[in-house]
């Protein structure tokens, strides 16, 4: 093996092992596998995996393979980015990057290694998910497992999105202004806005050919083949209602097609060009360039707005209790105020959401403003329960009254206070317009904060929650209330008392699990 290949292999191996051993990887894998379980419901529930003109598709390798491959594609596109978008940042923070910069390794070699590391990790992750999905055939299958048919579905759909996300993550990490939390938010809206764009162009009558070449998610390819083989547009995939009186059909699955060979290969390879752009911005750990990039970030429009909003932080800081009783609530209030003061632009967001809530009717408020407000709130509370671990200040807070033993309660309370800043006006307004909406909204909020607390404490990383929640949020908003169990905050008025109780129970379960984990950590390390 040449020296360059050996270096490339070393980067891939190290990145793979680092990610594989993170608790957040196991959590995300379990969440994804659990969502596959919901995605493939038992027909006895009145729902099925694939419905075609009211007919239920038989649960065989083609049907489960294609549907879970599509779910995996959505996951890689949305969550995969967050999972792999810290490869270069890790080397900056640990300063291992300086050592790398002092070796003969070229910048392009390093980026190629990091890109290959992303691809390998996501491929192995998806392979694991594919195996977990195969096991669905044992649980709910109605035909014997055909591994080759199953694997074909994944091979036809997943590779372009893996390469696209891997390359885009490198580009974002190299580009000043797109590194960090702001880039994370930009990517989410970029992906949510563009995921179905190519598919919708391909699905038109007399579609142009070029969108096939940028169909990274494979949705356009899937829709094209489904339309060709099933001769209908009435197809729904994933926990869909069906007519039990109609006979079950055998779904043929996706198959190789010469006309699509070129587009699928191009959409797999084209994202590699993003690495060329990334190389232009890559700092090669030069401290002078890193310093300049940090200054440039402050000069971005969000940095400028944040600086302009700084005076607002002074008013917020005035809310910190001075010489209070030292109660848990005081500590939570101080923590919440500090959270908002650290990013004053959030205050503008709070006012913006309040104005939008007051200006909307009940429907617009619940289905438009609320999902946005919950997403903003989730991003704001994501790092509350893990920032001490990340900053190495756990010992400081554990020395304060109450906080060591009641850390979980403190962090949950802080999250609820920050969330209340975002959602108080919208929830009050919604309660006036639709009194029955109040309870599910509050329960949904508590569930969000409890999940953020658990995932932050366990994984010591805000991205785990952001990834999990935004994926869930995306599915819930796309579902538009068709599935009552996904209407966790009652935005679409479909949350039944059982659903509300279930999310309240889940919130309590999250907090109990976080408390148990924290107690274990205290015993082991503190």
């Amino acid at each position: 093996m040449s020296e360059r290949l050996s270096r490339l292999a070393a980067i891939v191996r190290a990145d793979f092992l680092i990610r594989l051993r993170r608790p957040s990887t196991a959590i995300i894998f379990l969440l994804l596998s659990a969502s596959a379980y919901l995605w493939v419901p038992a027909p006895s529930t009145g729902k099925c995996l694939i419905q075609v003109n009211g007919h239920r598709a038989l649960y065989d390798s083609a049907a489960i393979g294609m549907a879970t491959a599509m779910l995996g594609t959505i996951f890689i596109g949305l969550a995969g980015f967050y999972v792999v978008s810290n490869a270069i940042r890790r080397d900056v923070l640990s300063r291992c990057g300086y050592v790398i910069a002092s070796t003969t390794m070229r910048g392009s070699e390093y980026l190629a290694g990091k890109f290959a590391g992303n691809v390998v990790f996501l491929t192995v992750f998806m392979s694991g998910f594919m195996l977990a999905s195969m096991s669905m055939l044992i649980v709910r299958g109605e035909a014997p497992l055909q591994p080759l048919v199953f694997i074909t579905q994944y091979l036809l759909l997943v590779p372009p999105v893996i390469v696209f996300v891997s390359a885009l993550a490198i580009l974002f990490e190299c580009t000043p202004g797109l590194r960090g939390k702001f880039g994370d938010v930009v990517y989410f809206f970029l992906w949510a806005g563009s995921a179905g764009a190519a598919a919708s162009l391909i699905d038109r009558p007399n579609p142009p050919v070029w969108p096939r070449y940028i169909d990274f998610t494979g949705l356009g390819f899937s829709m094209h083949q489904l339309g060709d083989t099933l001769h209908t547009q009435s197809v729904s995939i994933g926990a869909s209602s069906f007519d039990a009186s109609k006979p079950t059909i055998v779904f043929p699955g996706l198959h190789f097609e010469w006309a699509w060979a070129g587009p699928r290969i191009v959409s797999t390879l084209a994202p590699i060009l993003l690495l060329v752009v990334a190389r232009l911005f890559f700092h090669r750990f030069d401290p002078a360039r890193l310093r300049a990039a940090a200054a440039a970030t402050k000069r971005t429009w969000i940095g400028r707005f944040n600086a302009m909003a700084k005076p607002l932080a002074r008013f917020v800081l005035a809310l910190i209790p001075r010489g209070g009783s030292g109660s848990l609530l005081d500590a939570a209030r101080a923590d919440a105020v500090t959270t908002v003061a650290a990013f004053p632009l959030a205050i503008v967001g709070v006012f913006g959401l309040a104005i939008a809530a007051l200006a909307s009717d009940a429907h617009g408020l619940l289905t438009g403003v609320m999902p946005l407000a919950y997403a903003a709130c989730a991003i704001a509370v994501a790092d509350i329960s893990c920032r001490e671990q990340r900053a190495g200040t756990s010992a400081l807070v554990f020395a304060a009254p109450h906080l060591r033993q009641r850390f979980v309660a403190w962090k949950f309370l802080t999250s609820m206070l920050v969330a209340a800043a975002f959602l108080a006006v919208p929830i009050v307004r919604a309660s006036i317009l639709r009194p029955d909406a109040a309870l599910p909204l509050v329960v949904g909020l508590a569930f969000t904060c409890a999940a953020a607390t658990l995932l932050g404490i366990v994984s010591a990383n805000p991205k785990t929650f952001i990834v999990g929640f935004l994926t869930f949020w995306y599915v819930a908003t796309q579902d538009k209330g068709a599935t009552a169990s996904l209407d966790f905050a009652g935005w679409f008025g479909k949350a039944t008392p059982a659903v509300i109780a279930a999310y309240a129970g889940l919130a309590m379960l999250c907090l109990a699990a976080a408390a148990a984990y924290h107690a274990r950590v205290l015993r082991a390390r503190w």
Binding site: A14, L17, V99, A101, D286, A288
Partner: protein
């Protein structure tokens, strides 16, 4: 061995990290002393080819490091300040990773390096559970894995307990044979016993470059010891350079760096390197006013 000529590093903000710095050193351990913000780290980063100087030249064994950094990079070991590790890797995996990046394939070499820093018995433990000292030793292991001719270590003892500091010092002393080791610190005692040359920096400029004994010789006659009352000590502290102070039942025993007797009862004492550092910081000539007669080093500007 290492020749630095008129090197400057100017940041985009217009501030200088290092300005018009020149010196030359041969082998041994070069201790780089100076307060925070003196430019030690920037200088080391330039020598380590992590960042380029905005002016001047750096030659290592007569090869231009700025124009052709790869020649040095093959023979370089670098431990940056506040070096972190990948918590989820074992010590062996971590070292294997850096060995591969530096083109080292010998498994024996990796094992030997782990033994050198006394981590061979915990080679298969995740480094996330290591103490600060163990992590620093792993850091020095990665710097030594390619058997470098030039080793650069930036503030390696910060945050270590006294025992680990001594252990780390011994490792650096051992590896200083036959190669050049540049060790930056603001803790004078870290370099006192192992440095063959001391470079003192202030505000991006070289204040002095000389062997430790030469620096101490220059400070001779300018270091005084006196026992004074607490009130008097507070007064002296405001006007003079106190090198050290010990509270005793009779008052405060203070070492004072001053060109003249600071108080009538002050007695002259032999300077330590700490005293010499304070003396040089106060009396050094600054930019290009480096050592007067170094034995193993020469100011070239």
């Amino acid at each position: 061995m290492l020749r630095i000529t008129d090197v400057s590093k100017r940041f985009r903000s217009g501030n200088y990290g290092v300005r018009d710095l020149s010196f030359e050193v041969r082998g041994g351990v070069l201790g780089l002393l100076g307060p925070n913000g003196a430019g030690k780290t920037t200088l080391m980063q330039m020598i380590a080819t992590v960042t380029k100087p905005t002016a001047g030249s750096i030659f290592f064994r007569d090869e231009d490091v700025v124009a052709k950094p790869d020649a040095l990079r093959r023979r370089l070991g670098y431990l940056p300040q506040d070096f972190g590790v990948y918590d989820n890797l074992t010590a062996l995996e971590f070292l294997n990773y850096f060995a591969a990046l530096k083109g080292v394939r010998s498994r024996t070499k990796i094992q030997e390096t782990l033994e050198l820093v006394n981590l061979h018995q915990v080679a298969n433990r995740a480094v996330g559970g290591f103490s600060g000292g163990m992590k620093q030793r792993l850091g020095i292991a990665q710097a030594l894995i390619n058997d470098p001719d030039l080793v650069i270590v930036d503030e390696p003892t910060a945050g270590l307990d006294p025992e680990e500091r001594v252990r780390f010092r011994n490792v650096l002393s051992d590896i200083g044979m036959g190669r050049l080791v540049i060790l930056s610190t603001h803790i004078v005692s870290d370099v006192e016993s192992i440095a063959t040359e001391i470079a003192i920096m202030r505000e991006g400029a070289l204040v002095a470059l000389a062997p430790p004994e030469e620096l101490m010789r220059r400070a001779k006659g300018s270091v005084w010891e006196v026992v004074v009352s607490s009130e008097k000590f507070d007064e002296l502290r405001r006007t003079l350079h106190i090198s050290s102070a010990v509270r005793k039942s009779s008052g405060v025993q203070a070492r004072i760096v001053s060109p003249f007797p600071p108080v009538p009862l002050a007695t002259p004492v032999e300077p330590t390197l700490e005293d010499a550092f304070l003396f040089t910081m106060r009396n050094g000539e600054g930019r290009n006013g480096a050592a007067t007669a170094p034995t193993n080093a020469a100011a070239v500007a």
